[in-house]
Symmetry: C2
Subunit: 348 residues, 2 copies
């Protein structure tokens, strides 16, 4: 973040429509800001990157990022755009390799803001061990965008023979969660609304592909993986219950929620189980392998300097119709339903 912007800011303090026009200014942006940061491809600038993969079974995914505000405690839109897409590949059990990067910039965006985001993207890509290999930049007129939107698509290689999918979940599976929930949504909302909580709540955004790879290498039979982003843990589990036609019973006391996140949720009338996370995922594994898998998730947390609070949070049973229920602290059950929308819009 300490490098100074390679584009002369006195001359080009903000993004102009011409930066998306295919002419000299667009090429300056691509060459001085993007190629200089992400590395020059082997072949000179071309319409597509040509890549030789270490196999022919791939995962392919995309996400757009419109989070508001762009910068929040623990991350920014650029970090999210890398980790979110990397994690979608990881959830298919793939090893992420390459990302594409599409910017939709609003005329008038400070050039320095773009530069800050570009640096975040590169740092996040290095951490997640992926390369940005192709991209695109469009500029829309002032008032027709919101600073900047990012789309990333990702290609990863699938090196295992397992079927990791919602409908592979079966009765008897244990539900594992790799850490505490609710931080990302609260961090973004607090920043957006200017709320000051007593402690600093930071986003949990992080790449999870390496720990998924460790689970696979340890021979864990993974039935399903899913990151608990939009809609949070509750919506994610409902999708899986529906796809697998099963009943998922959660144990509320086993779901880690930071005390300050819990406090913020109580003040704001939000439920942490419906709040978006950006580094949390659930894994469905056979009961016999649950302890071994949990140990890997906790070791990953320890390696990152986190509290090892990954947990077995629930169980799958057969059911006549799909259902997710939560057994609370008092031992009573309630249904965790799907909301019609998100409690908090534009969280990713």
């Amino acid at each position: 973040m300490s490098l100074s912007c390679p584009i002369p800011l006195k001359q080009y303090p903000t993004i102009l429509l011409a930066h998306g026009g295919g002419g000299r200014l667009m090429h300056q942006l691509i060459s001085q800001l993007f190629l200089a940061t992400f590395g020059r491809p082997e072949q000179p600038q071309h319409d597509a990157a040509v890549l030789t993969l270490p196999g022919n079974r791939i995962a392919f995914t995309t996400d757009s990022y419109v989070v508001s505000p762009m910068f929040f405690p623990g991350g920014d839109i650029g970090i999210l755009a890398v980790n979110g897409t990397v994690n979608d590949l990881a959830m298919a059990g793939a090893r992420p390799l390459y990302l594409s990067l599409g910017f939709i910039l609003e005329e008038g965006l400070p050039m320095e803001t773009l530069w800050r985001v570009v640096q975040s993207i590169q740092a996040a890509a290095e951490r997640a061990q992926v390369r940005i290999v192709t991209g695109d930049t469009k500029v829309v007129d002032r008032g027709k965008g919101d600073g900047l939107f990012i789309n990333t698509a990702g290609v990863g290689i699938v090196e295992h023979g397992q079927t990791i999918a919602p409908n592979a979940v079966i009765p008897g599976d244990v539900v594992l969660l790799n850490g505490d929930v609710g931080r990302h949504g609260i961090a973004v909302m607090a920043q957006r609304e200017g709320l000051a909580f007593e402690s600093d709540i930071t986003s949990d955004t992080a790449p999870v592909a390496q720990v998924v790879s460790q689970l696979l290498q340890a021979g864990i039979e993974i039935h399903c993986l899913r990151d608990a982003t939009r809609g949070g843990l509750a919506s994610t589990l409902n999708e899986i219950a529906t796809a697998a036609q099963v009943h998922i019973t959660l144990n509320e006391t086993a779901i880690p929620v930071q005390a300050d996140v819990q406090g913020a949720c109580e003040i704001l009338g939000l439920d942490p189980l419906y709040i978006a996370n950006e580094g949390r995922f659930i894994a469905f594994v056979p009961a016999a392998q649950a302890d071994a898998a949990l140990a890997i998730l906790q070791a990953d947390q320890i390696a990152k300097g986190e509290l090892p609070n990954a947990s077995a949070i629930g169980r799958v049973t057969a059911a006549p119709s799909p259902l997710v229920t939560l057994t609370n602290r008092l031992g009573t059950d309630r249904i965790l339903d799907v909301l019609s929308g998100e409690q908090l819009p534009r969280i990713c």
Copy 2:
């Protein structure tokens, strides 16, 4: 375009923020509008598509589409989003296989508009023989977008051993162009500005992967391919001249421009050589193969019911520094320089 919208329009006449929220409304949109149109993947809804490719050398590309207005003579934003990305893959000599589809919708967008675009995307994907296999939908608040933006990323398979790249262009190459230029930009601008020209100028948007595949199968040694989109023919050729460090000489009388496009350009003070096209590309081939390649380009036009006006428009010579010049009708030369931006913004 004749099917009625699967989402009940009385209940949901427009896009709501909740349609991007990860809850019930988003799943209704995905399942009833997207999956019902693009076909259900083999695996149930997951974060990434898992695909087995017929080889391991791929092309990977992305583009965002922000064209304004969304609908114009000869096409719309959805058709462009398929053809543009398909053509970027084709320009690497790849056979396009799979697309991702990311929507950024503005709250308040008429549901019927989205439905119309979704149908266009599917029709264009069928024509280009690609499948939409993964996607994402985000909704931004009213006033923070412009109806809808689309990002597509594409994966194609490279089945030849040639190096098709700007720096593979060498002195002696002939420059081929697969048809007339200037139509797309003028069609969009006329629609945007409400200009009525005497004749209807329609966009040239079309997939070009099949004709590229025919060139390769015929054994043409293709040095470089490039579609003449943003910045038009002139900017595209300048990029290549710079990458290859050569002089490209064009023959103005050989470059096909429709009379009504020429007329519109003269009235508006625009140069058709700088106007974006969406179905036109240039191919650099050895002089000995130029006639054979041109015959393939013209046969493709005839098969589509077009006037076979694909042409050899120029030649590559050695030069001390990169240069593109145009020999005009009177036999005099002028330099075709790079503009700082686009003559017409938001053209794709």
